[in-house]
Assembly symmetry: C2
Homo-oligomer: 323 residues x 2
């Protein structure tokens, strides 16, 4: 999409401009390393999109947009340590290259840099953004802890799951939009509406992620087929299946999810229950539901329809990856 490319170029240039030159290099080079590897940088783009929606100045939103990207990378550095992930965006993770200590510390420092990047805003706006930012950080930590808890918790419910993905994925998109809107001077109602748009697109995106793991086209998605089943992850598919399974199927699901194996029998058996309980359809309906809620909030915002088009395109882009 052209507008995404344009925003991506703006963000990339800003990241280049603000490359950390601070010392000690042992602390700052890992920070530059992870930020320079990019990814799609959707969150800073969300800040800029919302800022444009309400006719804000690019200059004013640019450093806060980077702050969101720094924040996101702070969470990635720490999450990668927790998940013992060797790779991120195809490159070795920071703790793999430099050890856990540098991972913890450069993550912390990146978070402080993120906070500092709001300091050009005038006090009222600064405080409004900081409230959103602090709240986001706390909910993200809580979401990550819920996710960790789920690994050993037997009785995860569908509501537990929705809260977890809301905290882990929905809130940061939501806050990115809200901060962009606040910086542009949007009123409280509109800022909350674009927050809720982002939240529900984020939730829908995460459900799509779970869906595609099993029902996506492997080639275009670029991840191992059914990796979540292998890892016994309590995804939306698993939780919906448990809910709608027969007693016998539920026992079979629990049996397979007590073993960590990429045995094809396991994948085949679990997928069979998934199809039998129609969780593929149910997941798609959920995605549609959250997309509709997102659109509902978008509709309520008091700007010309033309201004909303990129948001609809972004949601479509995020939710139709290859399905």
């Amino acid at each position: 999409m052209q507008f995404l490319d344009d925003y991506q170029r703006i963000v990339a240039e800003a990241i280049d401009k603000y490359t950390f030159k601070d010392k000690p290099a042992e602390l700052y080079e890992p920070m530059n390393y992870i930020i320079s590897h990019g990814g799609k940088r959707l969150r800073p783009i969300m800040v800029l999109m919302a800022n444009d929606m309400f006719d804000g100045e690019l200059e004013k939103a640019l450093k806060p947009a980077l702050a969101i990207e720094f924040f996101h990378n702070f969470t990635l550095i720490h999450d990668d340590i927790m998940d013992e992930a060797p790779l991120r965006r195809g490159k070795p993770t920071i703790h793999t290259l430099h050890g856990v200590n540098v991972g913890i510390l450069s993550g912390d420092a990146l978070l402080f840099k993120a906070y500092k990047f709001f300091e050009d805003l005038e006090p009222n706006l600064f405080k409004a953004c900081m409230r959103v930012f602090n709240h986001t950080g706390l909910l993200l930590s809580e979401g990550q802890q819920y996710d960790i808890n789920f690994e050993t918790k037997g009785d995860v419910t569908f509501n537990d799951y929705i809260r977890m993905i809301t905290y882990k994925t929905g809130i940061l998109s939501a806050s990115s939009f809200e901060i962009g809107a606040l910086i542009a001077g949007a009123n409280f109602t509109d800022a909350k509406a674009i927050f809720n748009f982002g939240k529900h697109v984020g939730i829908a995106f995460q459900i799509m992620d779970d869906y595609l793991d099993v029902f996506g086209q492997q080639e275009s998605f670029g991840k191992m087929h059914a990796g979540d089943i292998v890892e016994n992850k309590k995804t939306v598919l698993y939780l919906l299946a448990k809910e709608h399974a027969t007693e016998e199927e539920r026992k079979e699901l629990e049996f397979w999810y007590s073993k960590k194996t990429d045995n094809l029998d396991k994948i085949y058996s679990v997928e069979k229950i998934f199809r039998r309980t129609k969780v593929d359809e149910k997941a798609l309906l959920l995605i549609q539901k959250h997309n509709e809620i997102a659109q509902h909030y978008l509709n309520k915002i008091n700007v010309p329809d033309e201004k909303k088009k990129p948001f609809i395109e972004l949601a479509n882009y995020l939710l139709r990856r290859d399905s």
Copy 2:
């Protein structure tokens, strides 16, 4: 000291009052655990002292004072992981009890809570405090990284060392005082003066810590004698000794600091060089120098002498522990 006891009671009551009741418990209980174990809680007390110096309201300074304590404990949780420390204030560290992941995450969440505890301040003051707080966080991260670097860096200089302890110890005391002063409405000059008072007391305190490791009375100090020598720590004593040693002594020092052992020969030999180069006297002179700089800044502050008394008593208390 009576006034310290009084402040300690106020802080303890506030900590009780604001015990985290949030969920998930797996995230918040470790935070309550480390905070409830206390320690002397000097940093929140510094906030309250500076607030009182400029006739601020206790109610207004209390949550920011707790924020400083939360921040301090966030650094302790992460530092303990990095140092693989089994104990903190005589109790098992969080990562020892709950694993490194919970340590990283509850540290992060505690930092976000610290930020949130400033949110009751009006926007101008909020922003002024956040600038101090963000800067402090960044310098502390840098100081911790310098400290880690020193373990493997051969040519650590005296100036490197002073910067490291300034960032690791001086800045947080300094900022605690400054934030207390800002909340009370002190002007910029006075707030900077009390910042600098705290910075130099902090530096002097850290040098005293190095001094007492070798020259303190073991019983009252409560730490292993010469633990820094055993650990090959590049303390002020080591750096001054290297500077003032003969070529032969310097080689001997480097020889011993290439071995990690509690061999008494090592401790005896190193201490002999320390005494020969008179680093004990030099360290005491440095402590005196930084204490004098601190007093110089205190003198400049435009409040009645009576208001300065607790600050002088605090500095004396910190710097004369058992020497």
